[in-house]
Amino acid sequence: MNMSQTKDIRTEEFLINMGPQHPSTHGVLFLEVKLDGEIVVDCTTHIGYLHRSMEKIAENRTYTQFIPFTDRIDYVASMNNNLGYVTAVEKLMNLEVPERAKYIRVIVAELNRIASHLIGIGTFAQDLGAFATPLFYCFREREKIIDIFDRICGNRLTYNYMRIGGVQFDLPKGIDETIKQFIAYMRPKLDDYDTLLTYNAIFLARSKGIGVLPKSLAIDYSVSGPNLRASGVRWDIRKEEPYLVYEKMEFDIPVGVNGDAWDRYKVRIEEMRQSLRIVEQALGALPEGDPTVKAGRIQKIAPGEAYMRTENPRGELGFYIVSDGSTYPYRLKIRAPSFSNLALLPELVKGLKVADIICVLGSLDILMGEIDR
């Protein structure tokens, strides 16, 4: 053996395939990670394992028939997806919605935002190795919201509740008391999360300063929702372009300072507090009337196009609809927030450790159903 052989021992980069079946890739995401020891050199995302051709299906369905499909785009926040779609169609039709329906939509959308954020922070804590305990607490609270939805529309996950021009059913009797009880129950629980997780030393060490997303990069990648606000950009469509009755509601937009994983988590916790405020106000101002739709199920919409964006729990959800005057949309394009948020991942994880990929991914709170559509 000569000296030159022993001198330069060859070290190799280590390619690891994370997913599509991995405990913490939040669905069927496939990450191709190049490692130098424990340090991430490169990370490529591969998507498409959950593609269901939603946009093409829409071209062969009437406007009302497509509503249940929107449930399945982001199955964690179905109400918000229903909302995004029906408001887009209403914008295309120039349809005015009964006042009571608007309030009901705001109530269910904000409740679903809380449910979605609960899953977001629960799985994030799970990704950081807090063995299932915060996740179970989050699911316990989410269960109460699901029970409320169960009473409102009969479904627990894919609600199919909103209709073009209103909602499917009026609120059942006594539900406002249940929602008020839930608000009273939820507020102290959020403080519990602060003591269990938010200011825990290990939690801080794991998430502070990890995956820092600078303002400019966030805007370049068209990041939206809590991830954008965590980077310090005060942008919320509920404030910027108020739809439904959001301009009458009083709420703050929580923003982060550093744009790291902890800020993204903290913004979600704060947003839940704000959502509780909105639900409380909307319940108080709920007008009388009939929110259900009397019109026929099949709409013939005059030729034209409309783009409507709403604030989904994960960011800006946009529906672009082109009508050619028939009963089917000519083209429907969905702008899903998780798609842009995931595109960012390789930028954020370079140079971090393996464990940090999971931390950053968890903090972005992506949802594969929405990315692949």
């Binding site: 690891i16 807090a130 305990t133 939690f203 794991r206 450790k353 464990a355 999971i358």
Partner: protein, 321 residues
């Protein structure tokens, strides 16, 4: 001289210890599931027996009947041997653990040194599993385990040495005897030592917040990803036996071993040990996991210097006495 009587005695002791290990591991697995369930506002196992007490037996039967799958390109011998390396040292350690005044398989005069030496062998099993499986996740888990366990051995041994210096002997029985009037943990110079021991021991048995080698959310299951059936069960039993051992050592070194009023010594020993095990379970189901570099930094920059300084203080106090 090895007479027939001593031989029979040793055989009985060996079987008693093995039986105890099996029952204890099964009990701990059931208990951990119950503790975690109640922390997480669930019930845990409820179907098999009263509140699921027989769940572990059902699981053991299931694991025994499972197919033993070997990855196609695994390193056969190393892969096959690894589970034994995980269990056998844990069993050997029981030789020197004093359950009661006379209830100790063999009171070795180098007691604690023997325990530390033998229990260090476990890491070889973990490393063999990581290497032999020919799986990248396993390899990462095995490497992490090697680095972690070796790093935490240092503060662990340094904290134990402080106790040995105080008692003046490494024999487990004599260490217990020296705490007849006052448990070690109540001595001001031993408090820091016991904290250091508890933290290092958590890392030694790979439990949250130091469960890096397994790190489910990152490495699937770390070094035992590729093991199934009885081989997986052996890793599992080894893990819970180790948990019992570190708790038993902590009881012996800091909580006065089998000393205690009214109840028989062995009952006191078990109460203290299982109370400590409960603390570890409580921690596991509450805290997130630290990152691998933070873990190493904590061992080398905080725990080891603290243990060294503490050792110097204990020595100085002994000289003054």
């Amino acid at each position: 001289m090895l007479t027939a009587l001593t031989f029979i005695f040793m055989l009985t002791a060996a079987f008693a210890v093995l039986g105890f290990i099996a029952v204890s591991a099964m009990f701990l697995i059931w208990w951990e599931r119950k503790v975690s369930a109640h922390i997480q506002s669930r019930f845990g196992p409820m179907r098999v027996g009263w509140h699921g007490v027989l769940q572990s037996i059902a699981d053991a039967v299931k694991l025994l009947l499972k197919e033993d799958i070997r990855p196609a390109r695994a390193d056969k011998l190393i892969w096959w041997l690894a589970p034994f390396f995980a269990v056998v040292p844990s069993v050997m350690v029981f030789v020197a653990i004093p359950f009661g005044r006379t209830l100790v398989p063999r009171d070795l005069n180098i007691g604690i040194l023997y325990i530390m030496a033998i229990s260090s062998v476990c890491v070889i099993g973990v490393f063999m599993a990581g290497w032999g499986s020919n799986n990248k996740y396993s390899l990462l888990g095995g490497m992490r385990a090697g680095a972690q366990i070796i790093s935490y051995e240092l503060p662990l041994v340094l904290s134990i040495i402080a106790v040995v210096m105080r008692a003046g002997t490494p024999s487990m029985q004599k260490i217990v005897a020296s705490q007849g009037s006052c448990w070690n943990i109540f001595h001001p110079d031993m408090m820091l030592v016991s904290v250091i021991y508890m933290i290092s021991a958590t890392a030694e048995v790979n439990r949250t917040p130091f469960d890096i080698p397994e790190a489910e959310s990152e490495l699937v299951a770390g070094f035992h990803t590729e093991y199934s059936g009885m081989k997986f069960a052996m890793f599992f039993v080894g893990e819970y036996t180790n948990l019992f051992i570190v708790a038993a050592i902590a009881t012996t070194l800091f909580l006065g071993g089998w000393h205690g009023p009214i109840l028989p010594p062995v009952v006191w020993f078990l109460i203290k040990t299982y109370a400590l095990v409960f603390v570890w379970m409580w921690v596991r189901w509450t805290f997130p996991r630290v990152r691998v570099d933070q873990l190493m930094a904590f061992a080398w920059k905080v725990l080891t210097p603290a243990a060294l300084v503490n050792l110097a203080i204990v020595g100085w106090l002994l000289l003054k006495r």
